[in-house]
């Protein structure tokens, strides 16, 4: 029964991961990361259900908080670099290499 949710979370995680790999826009990339975090949340909740304890639910809350904090930091960084480069493409930021 819970397997469906797990499969879904796995799918979401995979989608997020692929998204990070294929999308150029920093914001979108970042959103894909958030998607992965949420996939995790789904998994936590599912397992909480499976194991019949609430830890998973609680963890999900923690994760949301952390994700929120991450958003703040992330947007700040992305905005700064956007202001400098007038582009939010992660591929433009490739001075550091080799």
């Amino acid at each position: 029964m819970t397997t469906h949710y797990l499969v879904l979370s796995a799918l979401l995680f995979a989608i997020g991961g692929i998204g990070v790999l294929v999308r150029r826009n920093a914001i979108v990339v970042f959103m894909c990361v958030e998607l992965m975090l949420n996939a995790c949340n789904l998994a936590f909740v599912t397992f909480a259900r499976q194991n019949g304890n609430v830890d998973g639910q609680v963890i999900a809350f923690f994760v949301m908080i952390v994700a929120a904090a991450e958003v703040v930091i992330g947007l700040a960084i992305i905005v700064t670099i956007f202001r400098t480069r007038r582009s939010a493409s992660v591929d433009d930021a490739s001075l550091l290499k080799y």
Binding site: V20, L21, V22, R24, V29, D91, S94, L96, K97, Y98
Partner: protein, 634 residues
């Protein structure tokens, strides 16, 4: 009779002071070399003094020795421990070594004296005398050593001295090359000598004569032969025997007194000494090693003689004859106790008359401002009467003119070899004939006939300091042979050291071989006179027949060495150097370069695109998960 046992000297008398023989000239050399220019003024005198001093000591030791009962005449004097458990430095005083000592110090001293005059104009005369002293010291150590290690030190010491003296005029490239060649060729011989020592030590656990000789027989036949042959290789190097003869002729680059002392009278006979010394142990009568020695001897005596026939350079002619004469000694030394005495006797007389000849030649060169080409001599007997007289006596001695030294000793050798092996004997006779030819040729070209020298040269007799040694040497060249051979004086004297043959040989002046020898010598001399005395001698060397060229080019000995060793050697060297730089070092540097290169390529994977980094993480995660799965489910 077997050689007497070697006793350790109880002490007392001149014998316990024998070390002075070595130390005196050594000190002389040291003082002159370290003292430097300060000693220039009196250096040569010190040199002579030290050499004469050594002679005096030798004489004293000699008299103490003959005072002893024959069975007591082998005394070893231990000086000090050299290499603990391997060898000491010690002296062996016995008839054999003392005879050498007398020869070396006496002839040596005469040549020292002679050199005062001969080198008077040379700025480095002091250094010359230092080297001469060094040589005398080393040579004495060689013959006095009571074990092979000490002998080897002397052996190499004389080699060094010879190197230094051949290259004395080192600014002449020819001299420098000759010196190096002499040393290197000698090292080939030393190689043999060294291996012989290792083998002896592995066999007997010692290198001292006293312990090796008595037990030599216990070693297996093969080992004995091997040791013998290896020693022979060493002897060939020092004594310029085939196949290591090539250095001697070039060695004539050195000042003439050097040629007289080192490359005629003493050093080159060290090989004979080695064979005779080890003879009872490793070259017993009828042994394979002994046979090889005789063969080498005969081959060399013929080769030397043939070379001598074609040389126009008076010194090289004499050098060829030296080879040949040492060939005789080797031949005799190879046949065992019957020959030892004759070998040594010939060695001693040869020492005198060959030194006489060389110094005479030197006197001639001195007169002809260092011209050595006999074709530019001629008719010198009037201008250099003393030199001529002495040279002529030496000449008669060497060709074996009846009743002169060479006659007795060489004839003795031929006689004894005849009994041993007729073929070798007759070959030796032939050699004698050739000797007659080339020596006569030399005398005729130098002293007789019209003068062929150019105007600038105005020959003059040498000063007394040079002529007196000549006179003394020639006196000995006349009488010494008879003294040593008649009534087997030397043989009996040497008996305790080298053993005696079953029955002592008598002296048969009119034996077939003896007469034939005389006849052949006469013939040879006749031809020479006919060819060079009667007819005009061209000043420029004619091309000459194939045979002449063959002889002139030292029987192509050098060509052979070059083809066999030098060229391949140079090749090998170049190859090795290339291999080292490109091959081994190439691998090393290649490895380094490879790492660097891979680094240069690998760093490209760090593209700088964050998404590719993410990809590597993603893939890495997948791989890790997969790996975990594989490992976990195994």
């Amino acid at each position: 009779m077997e050689p007497a046992e070697i006793l350790s000297h109880a002490g007392g008398g001149a014998i316990s002071l024998a070390w002075l023989m070595i130390v005196l000239p050594l000190a002389g050399a040291a003082i002159l070399l370290i003292g430097g220019r300060a000693t220039n003024k009196w250096g040569h005198l010190l040199g002579v003094l030290m050499s004469v001093g050594a002679f005096v000591v030798a004489a004293l030791v000699f008299f103490q020795l003959i005072g002893l009962d024959p069975a007591q005449r082998r005394q070893s004097v231990n000086l000090y421990e050299f290499i603990p458990g391997v060898a000491n430095i010690g002296l062996l005083i016995d008839p054999l070594s003392i005879s050498f000592c007398l020869l070396i110090t006496f002839v040596g001293s005469l040549i020292h004296v002679y050199s005062i005059g001969y080198m008077s104009h040379d700025p480095d005369r002091r250094r010359f005398f230092a080297y001469l002293n060094l040589f005398v010291a080393a040579m004495l150590l060689l013959v006095l050593a009571d074990n092979y290690v000490a002998l080897f030190i002397g052996w190499e010491g004389v080699g060094l001295a010879s190197y230094l003296l051949i290259g004395f005029w080192q600014y002449k490239p020819s001299a420098a090359v000759a010196a190096k060649k002499a040393f290197v060729v000698n090292r080939v011989g030393d190689f043999g000598l060294l291996i012989a020592m290792f083998l002896i030590f592995a066999q007997f656990g010692t290198l001292s004569y006293a312990e090796v000789f008595p037990n030599a027989a216990q070693a297996s036949q093969g080992v004995q032969t091997a040791i013998g042959l290896l020693l022979l290789l060493g002897a060939c190097g020092k004594s310029a025997q085939l196949p290591l003869q090539s250095w001697l002729l070039d060695a004539m680059e050195g000042p003439t007194p050097v040629s007289a002392l080192i490359h005629a009278a003493t050093m080159v006979t060290a090989g004979v000494y080695l064979v005779v010394r080890s003879g009872a142990a490793f070259f017993p009568e009828g042994s394979t090693a002994g046979l090889v020695v005789t063969i080498v001897g005969v081959a060399t005596l013929l080769a030397g003689a043939i070379i001598g026939t074609a040389k126009d350079d008076i010194k090289k002619g004499l050098a060829g004859s030296t080879m040949s004469q040492i060939g005789y000694m080797m031949l005799a030394a190879g046949i065992g106790p019957a020959g030892y005495a004759f070998a040594i006797a010939h060695l001693i007389t040869h020492g005198f008359f060959k030194a006489d000849l060389f110094l005479g030649a030197g006197s001639v060169m001195h007169a002809m401002n260092d011209e050595v080409d006999m074709r530019r001599y001629g008719g010198l007997r009037k201008l250099l009467p003393i030199t001529f007289a002495t040279f002529f006596i030496g000449y008669l001695a060497i060709i074996g003119f009846p009743l002169l030294s060479g006659y007795f000793t060489k004839d003795g050798i031929i006689e004894s070899v005849m009994h041993h092996n007729a073929i070798l004997g007759w070959l030796a006779v032939v050699g004698a004939g050739i000797t007659g030819f080339y020596m006569t040729r030399m005398v005729v070209m130098t002293f007789f006939g019209p003068k062929r020298w150019d105007e600038k040269a105005h020959p003059h007799e040498s000063p007394a300091v040079m002529t007196w040694p000549l006179i003394i040497l020639s006196v000995f060249s006349v009488g010494l042979g008879a003294y040593l051979i008649l009534s087997n004086r030397l043989m009996v004297f040497l008996g305790p050291a080298v053993g005696l043959p079953a029955e002592l040989p008598g002296f048969h002046p009119f034996s077939v071989p003896g007469l034939t020898t005389l006849a052949l010598v006469a013939v040879g001399a006749g031809i020479a006179i006919a060819k060079y005395g009667r007819s005009e001698v061209p000043v420029v060397q004619p091309r000459g027949s194939f045979l002449t060229v063959f002889a002139r080019r030292d029987l192509y000995g050098d060509a052979l060495n070059e083809a066999l060793f030098m060229r391949p050697g140079q090749w090998l060297t170049r190859l090795a150097v290339f291999f080292d730089n490109r091959g081994i070092d190439g691998v090393v540097n290649g490895l380094a370069a490879g790492v660097g290169g891979s680094s240069g390529r690998l760093r490209k994977i760090q593209t700088g695109y964050v998404r590719s980094y993410a990809l590597s993480i993603f893939v890495g995660a997948a791989v890790l998960a997969g790996a975990w799965f594989v490992v976990g489910t195994l």
